[in-house]
Symmetry: D2
Subunit: 310 residues, 4 copies
Amino acid sequence: MYNFRTDMAVERTDIYKKVNNIQKDINGIEAENELQKDIEISRVKITNEEGEKALAKPIGNYITLDVKNMKTADDEKIEEIAEAVANELRNVIGKHINDTEDILVVGLGNLEVTPDSLGPKVISHIEITRHILEYMPKLMPEDTRPVSAISPGVLGTTGIETMEILKGIVENIKPKLLIVIDALAARSIERISSSIQIADTGIVPGAGVDNKRKEISKKTLGIPVIALGIPMVVDLASITNDCINLFIESLQQKAMSNEYLNELKEKDNYEEIKEALIPRDYNMIVTPKEIDILIENMSKIVSKGINKAL
Amino acid sequence: MYNFRTDMAVERTDIYKKVNNIQKDINGIEAENELQKDIEISRVKITNEEGEKALAKPIGNYITLDVKNMKTADDEKIEEIAEAVANELRNVIGKHINDTEDILVVGLGNLEVTPDSLGPKVISHIEITRHILEYMPKLMPEDTRPVSAISPGVLGTTGIETMEILKGIVENIKPKLLIVIDALAARSIERISSSIQIADTGIVPGAGVDNKRKEISKKTLGIPVIALGIPMVVDLASITNDCINLFIESLQQKAMSNEYLNELKEKDNYEEIKEALIPRDYNMIVTPKEIDILIENMSKIVSKGINKAL
Amino acid sequence: MYNFRTDMAVERTDIYKKVNNIQKDINGIEAENELQKDIEISRVKITNEEGEKALAKPIGNYITLDVKNMKTADDEKIEEIAEAVANELRNVIGKHINDTEDILVVGLGNLEVTPDSLGPKVISHIEITRHILEYMPKLMPEDTRPVSAISPGVLGTTGIETMEILKGIVENIKPKLLIVIDALAARSIERISSSIQIADTGIVPGAGVDNKRKEISKKTLGIPVIALGIPMVVDLASITNDCINLFIESLQQKAMSNEYLNELKEKDNYEEIKEALIPRDYNMIVTPKEIDILIENMSKIVSKGINKAL
Amino acid sequence: MYNFRTDMAVERTDIYKKVNNIQKDINGIEAENELQKDIEISRVKITNEEGEKALAKPIGNYITLDVKNMKTADDEKIEEIAEAVANELRNVIGKHINDTEDILVVGLGNLEVTPDSLGPKVISHIEITRHILEYMPKLMPEDTRPVSAISPGVLGTTGIETMEILKGIVENIKPKLLIVIDALAARSIERISSSIQIADTGIVPGAGVDNKRKEISKKTLGIPVIALGIPMVVDLASITNDCINLFIESLQQKAMSNEYLNELKEKDNYEEIKEALIPRDYNMIVTPKEIDILIENMSKIVSKGINKAL
């Protein structure tokens, strides 16, 4: 299997095409793009096993919202993006359960590691209703959907696989659907805290940073799992690979091209780069300097988006 | 049942004696005190149903460590108190399980509400071993005890009863004993963040602030539950009651005593005071101004104490 | 001088009248109230030396906005109160400087002590313009007012009197007016984080908690100083004094009145209560349990109010 | 002038030698290394104008402490490094003032931007004495040095040049020496939060990230300024440049070398890389994912180091 080094279906589609020199559509994959104001929405649908194999992702829907300039987004812009997130979420949820069925929102990640704190930060702004419906039902309209929310922590601080924690909770409180928020690894630094991927196929926490944890999905938990992921980190070898390509392009434009450069650029040099970096303890996972404000804005968007959708 | 307005067995013993004018021991209750350096340790043991009824607490052991001047405790003092906590904990744990059996540490409370943040803060400093024993057992000595830790949040932010969350987790990961850390309500402002109660009878979260949640105990979870509680808040009516008593005492010393004062002091005026305060929305739950530093120091003590004991 | 134990002119006026048994107006003091929706606005003006002496506050304007239920204020309510704060501020500022003159906003207090963190939290949301006007003037409309902002810390963490720090800065950057935000001590627990006092006479930090620092005012800095203060703490003796009064009233209503009770209530028992509490180290400064959310909401109101006004 | 893209004298020395193909010492620069346990200490001394010109740094002393594995440093290791920092600081301070003269410690940076929060975090742990010596001198030994501390904020949040703020304070409280703590930009990702540079020549905040602010030095403030800087960020073009070199080296070892590769490696490709990255908004400033724990540990080391030295 090709090492995509990204959790994002839209990036995998591009890479798969490039690596396999495919111009037209991939069999088993339907893709379409839409521009809503300045939000670019890509919808990738994996429809059969061939598509599954190509992208190494399960059959299902993968929606990506790309937003520019998250760092300087004001209240109005945040409201607008949240609305777009809500629309896509509402759509995907409606494919699996009805309007009054019970949802549990799960914020993965570690509050004390800034680039990994998005999930817990979103959870603290979710409008929960389950306990009010249980203890003071008269305070709420009759058809209110029960919503609960939890931040289960990470294996490194709990000693317990997140899937195991969620399994126990799902068995006891029996929600009908899970929404799981997680920080992703992307391949491109451009996407950090400015893309949102919504997938109805669950999630494998840590998959993007070579630290795979147990899958959180319908297969392991018995109920549909919608994963809402936002890229927050990128590994240095990915960046360098991208940068070398940009660098070579720029050299070529200056008519300095030669066969070797073409060759370098053609192929993916990630493994060689990683190999060159590792002996010096160089292949760090990095995040932009502005990560605090990026996370602040993105957690507002995601929590508002979820609240609007539920 | 008498409204003790405190979760602390040591305070309840004193109140019960005062209210019932008892000078000698209460039947069904064994109490002893010890002074280790400047830490006062009280051990209350409820031995039968009569004792249960008197203190309205289940049969079991209740140990209180009282420390002065937590606000200005330095590293050395913190180390010393942590050692005392570790000794008591080790002792209590040893009564229920052996040295290599699995323990789950649970931090109750809400990280975003300062006086309620102790539990989650302690959790982030617990040295967990369970995942290492599972995935890289060779890194640890053979007889290492598996320790895991979780902050399940509070009903108000998750929509789920903490007991329900813990039930699911306990059923799935099967620890042999739970240590639950919680902020308590005390009756005396002196005890805020300067007393630690260790009980092997579980806990009813929120009991001290009239917001009772489902019991976390052997009865509900099937395994022994050691509760480590620290008073963090006190309600205004309790303070006022105490203050009025002090005030009257001071008037009496100035020879201003009269029958009415004696009468006032004799009885517990809490209900009248509460009644007088409530119409004006006055009966707030309060906490000292220095709560941040108090919690900082206490979370060091508790996490070090637990780490030493396990 | 009477020990008012409050920084709020509106409370002092009430106390002065009660203590001196005054029914009509106090000479040298003009007071009026206004109700804007559910915000109660009191305007106290001290007009001469007699008024100064009565309230032990300098000649000038003191405006108090009282808001109910700050703990549950939603975005709309916050916007509405901010608008009211902006109106009063604009008014007071307009009495001293014109629309394009330079303002420095100062947030007093200690970010690491929750009940004392309001000032620094407000500062981080002030829209500053001074550096843009200096380095990139073309980005701003011509008549933009230069606004700068600073959190100078507190004596206990800097070792320097705040006034000394501000003096140096004022001499170097020469603003025309200072807005100083500070947490106040109030006498009534009801006012905690639900009153805002705007005064154009400067401030003596720590005055309300018997920890007086050097005055920050026109007298010491040479430019007008508008103080925006919000009560955040109250001392236990004040609470107890209030509570005893309420308690006695309630006893009296139950026909338990007697001469001694009348006598107790008539006079201010603060000093006796304090005396009775101090030997036991009981006179703590306290704050409500919900202080985090109170400060969060209030810092939004104040920063929005200032931004709208400037 | 060569664009060194690093604030660290030790990196500049290496780069200067490489760029100019110098094997022996540079005129005007004395350099020596020492290994204390696993701390590598480099001392660079610029002795004349030629040295100044070579490194584009003023005449003075530049000491760098390099530590490995800061991410996993335990209490003992932190204590040990703090001791080494204290020794170097004591030494440098002793060259400028005597043991009882007044020092002001300044923490540059923005507490709300994680990679820029080191300065303010250190300040909150400095043991200050100035106010005690002023208000309660009897509490301290007679020869105690007055120490004060301040976090003046950054231009982007105050609207005021840090140098202007410090000028005012220095003129008013008249310390004899300044210690300024700042986050630096380094060229090598290896140094992030694991090197400490101590220089007695002051600092130009933001110099390493092309955002130069007014110099803080003896020239501008009239008293000696010791700068204690720790690299916290690195720009992507620097990383890529380093990575391309490592990548090419690795290709060469695999006998894939050719003339062009040699040429590529020989010269510094930073400008071309930056040029290639900028049109795509790619040249971000990045920081490692683990920045929170790195800063936590480093702020303990620096504050302990300063406290021991003073």
